[in-house]
Point group: D2
């Protein structure tokens, strides 16, 4: 079978979106890159400050409520449908719930050929990159660095602590299953 | 039946995304707002400068190729699946192909309760707003102002030339069918 | 004399930055457009959440502290020096302190030929545009619509409530003094 | 004397702006961070596609014309005036002209206590980060990696190839001269 979906999971500032863009550059076919960040931006502004939506605490903590979960579930179904309709899709997500988050994706992506990739980055390094990028609440990187991987099963793990995004992308690309001769 | 999808179609700088955000603010339930702009951003950077992808000419002309059409078709299926899975969705698109573009959406959204909304803006006014926003190639607004509506059938049309986005959103919200008592 | 600086003052979402971009498009010479927003972005991230810096309250209120005022004063001197060195400059600011803010600019711009422009927008309309743009805390537009103009003296006022940015820019451009024959 | 201006010079995607944000975070006093990118954004949109302004070629080449040079010279005078008025300033620039660019800054910053910092990054690594960030024309990083440093004299050089931005910032911070006891 041919890989249809690549799921990149890792904490904030671990380098997932950079790897996604590098994957798009090194893979011969066009891949769509979707991110939970774009889901959050697609939601009503009011959901970013409500208990039922998604809340970003000043200390970097993130909590999500019932309405967020409902829209997220529908969004996952939509991403799966894009892949079933023929689009190759790279998903960039933070499994806030660890193994439980993966199960939600597994259910949505049922029947598709998925490559599960863990994107690791040492907590202190990710925290430093969070300061350097300047557009995230300080503390998110540290609080998610370990938690996002709890109980999650991967086909492959990369670590951006001392490896560039492009090199990580090449490692991932080499693991794609392909029915091409 | 209850409206599940609102499709906003209009030329560049006609005010669609502003209306989408106002709709999210005035509608009591949470709606996702998705845009063809986010589709373009989800594509590989290389597709933004290739004949098979999407090309933005210096005069504001936009042309799309085979690979763009394929990813777009899968994206439409995905948006439809989000709606079928229970998410209320506002789609913000430019029907570059007029009636033909609408048919593609009709096929993807088959079975869903859709409100088709035309977002008009006088060409000269849209061209002025294009200058004011400063992030679009000059000429897109003028070249799409009429072309995007060619042969398209609407449930409702709004005109932002002399009406604010919030007022347009209220007019659209009043037209939503609802099964609520 | 020839106008060297155009100061646009008005509340949040009154349309100042759109007018600035239109001015740049209609004026024959190249003008630099600078904004208090870029000053805020140039400050350390920590100043955006400290009493000594600038605080954006959830209700749209904005308060600034001692360190903000010091950096702002130096920034004003710098903008004045750019104009004295020959750059034509459009300044886009919100006079949170009304007449007092104008006096700070008058002191910094001493000896330069300045065109003072008030950018008005009815509070309710500005509040609607704030929702439509989606990137400002709700309430800023309403709280600043009147306060920003308190005691301020203008050479010219424009009102974006029912006039497009480009038309406002043309009105302002027609008022520039010029030593050209 | 006390350092009043830190000039960070290096090619595109060498990590200057990340270091600037980290410097703002680690230095005890508030520093303004200004960049040639914000100068370009402050210019009329038409200057980004004109020979007299600044042109970004598809291969990553950047060329600037007479009008750009004039506005840039005034901008440098303004930055110097901000520092003379008491603001501590971090400048993030690409010396497209190498030593000649440095002389322009030296002239503008005359009398100020400046720390000149070279920000190096191996060409291949910078080119990879250019792909990962996704918002720059491919080729800029490679074409500027060496050229930006030609003939330039530094107080200090850092290399982001294998050192994080935060660590580079700490190295720079340790070099600041200070009149504090």
């Amino acid at each position: 079978m041919t890989t249809q979906v690549i799921v990149l999971n890792g904490g904030s500032s671990s380098g997932k979106s950079g790897i996604a863009r590098c994957l798009q550059a090194v893979l011969p076919d066009p891949w769509l890159a979707v991110s939970v960040d774009t889901l959050v931006e697609a939601m009503p502004a009011s959901m970013r400050t409500s208990e039922a939506g998604i809340e970003f605490a000043a200390d970097g903590g993130v909590s999500v409520g019932r309405e967020f979960r409902e829209l997220e579930a529908a969004w996952m179904e939509g991403i799966a449908a894009m892949a079933r309709a023929g689009a190759r899709v790279i998903v960039d997500d933070v499994f806030l719930g660890g193994a439980e988050s993966q199960q939600r994706w597994q259910k949505a992506l049922d029947g598709l050929d998925v490559l599960w990739v863990g994107v690791r980055c040492e907590s202190a390094v990710a925290a430093g990159r969070e300061i350097a990028r300047g557009d995230r609440a300080q503390g998110m990187a540290a609080s998610q660095a370990e938690a996002a991987h709890r109980g999650v099963l991967y086909d492959l793990e990369v670590d951006t602590t001392r490896t560039e995004s492009l090199e990580c992308a090449r490692t991932i690309a080499a693991q794609l299953s392909s029915s091409r001769p």
